[in-house]
Amino acid sequence: MSNEPGSYLPLSPAILHILLSLAGEDRHGYGIMQEVALQSDGQYKLGPGTLYDNLQRLLDQSLVSEVTPRGEEDSRRRYYRLTSLGKRVVNAEIGRLESVFRQAKVYLRPVKAGKS
């Protein structure tokens, strides 16, 4: 798999939300689901099936790694961490979205003015 962040773009909404949820700290699956719901004000709710399907792809692409935190006895809780490549991919996607946003503002402004 390429180390060039641009080759992973554009990211699907589920992948973007998962990567963003891991940007702050390592989280287990349920923690990711809660963080995604928090970040999107409850508008985007990931189901466990969707979450782990995407996590598996992210693990394969080395955008996320699995970590074993100290003192965690419950084997059902596996923690995931954003890799350096994952961080670069998120930054690249945010840059792409900002560009889309700027373009949208340019193209949508005359439409708004025309309507008013």
Binding site: G29, M33, G47, G49, D53, E66, V67, T68, S75, R76
Partner: protein
């Protein structure tokens, strides 16, 4: 069937590779979020996931091998731990069948002396499972964490550890696992034949009437021996799988050293 059982059933329908990685985690999330999200959305999600994994990812899971986590030793220990838990669960699943049968036998009151022996046999069957789980549960690699920490850079040390574990598992599969295979079936028929021939002597010894030890009684005997053989077969499969996981780890070590990695 409770919604949790239904959810678990849907998870168990997933490809084996997916189950190994995520079944326990998804079940844990179900337990945590069932009240806030509702059962319908979680069941629907599991159903969609089931279709997705079989239709879109089945080739992937067929060719995947266990993901190595922080380092190989921890991942391997975790995989073995998961395997041993599965074995333990399955073994106890069989025990429940025996215990249910024992309950039925006890309810058939007044109980004959033959059935009392039968009850003892059921308990013996349940007990016989415990030596079987030893090869996997035995002395877990977790116990070697400290030594692995000091020898972290010594791949040879780690390799010798897991090769010994692999050989032990294979030896057990070859020896005891055969009980549930073709040898076991032949052995079963042999035992039945001996039992059938010895019926008059057993009747005399136990003071049983001539009508006893006919097929109605013998079928309990047949049933128990069959389940016993099947349980060994099952344990052999689980231990065989554990040996395969170790072999994959050894192969992966070989590949990484060929690639110039430590």
């Amino acid at each position: 069937m409770t919604t949790r059982s239904l959810y678990r059933f849907l998870l168990r329908m997933h490809p084996a590779g997916f189950r190994e990685h995520y079944e326990e985690q998804m079940l844990w999330i179900f337990d945590e979020s069932v009240e806030s999200r509702g059962t319908a959305s979680l069941l629907l999600d599991a159903l969609v996931s089931l279709v997705r994994q079989w239709v879109l990812r089945s080739v992937y899971w067929r060719h995947s091998r266990p993901t190595l986590a922080v380092d190989g030793s921890l991942a391997l220990a975790e995989t073995l731990h998961q395997n041993s838990r599965k074995l333990f669960r399955r073994a106890w699943g069989l025990n429940i069948i025996w215990l249910a049968e024992a309950l039925v036998v006890l309810l058939m009151w007044p109980i004959s002396i033959f059935l009392k022996f039968q009850f003892v046999g059921l308990a013996a069957n349940a007990t016989a499972l415990f030596p079987g789980r030893k090869p996997v549960r035995g002395r877990p690699l977790r116990m070697n964490y400290i030594s692995l920490f000091y020898y972290k850079n010594s791949q040879e040390f780690y390799r010798s550890q897991i090769e010994a574990r692999r050989d032990g598992l294979r030896a057990w599969v070859g020896k005891a696992g055969g009980i549930g295979g073709a040898g076991g079936i032949v052995g079963l028929f042999f035992v039945l034949l001996v039992f059938w021939l010895l019926r008059p002597a057993i009747r005399t010894y136990m003071g049983l009437p001539n009508s006893s030890l006919d097929w109605d009684h013998s079928r309990y005997f047949v049933y128990n021996i069959t389940v016993w053989a099947l349980s060994f077969r099952l344990m052999a499969k689980v231990n065989e799988r554990a040996a395969q996981v170790i072999q994959q780890e050894i192969d992966a070590m070989g590949e990484s050293s060929m690639g110039g990695m430590k």
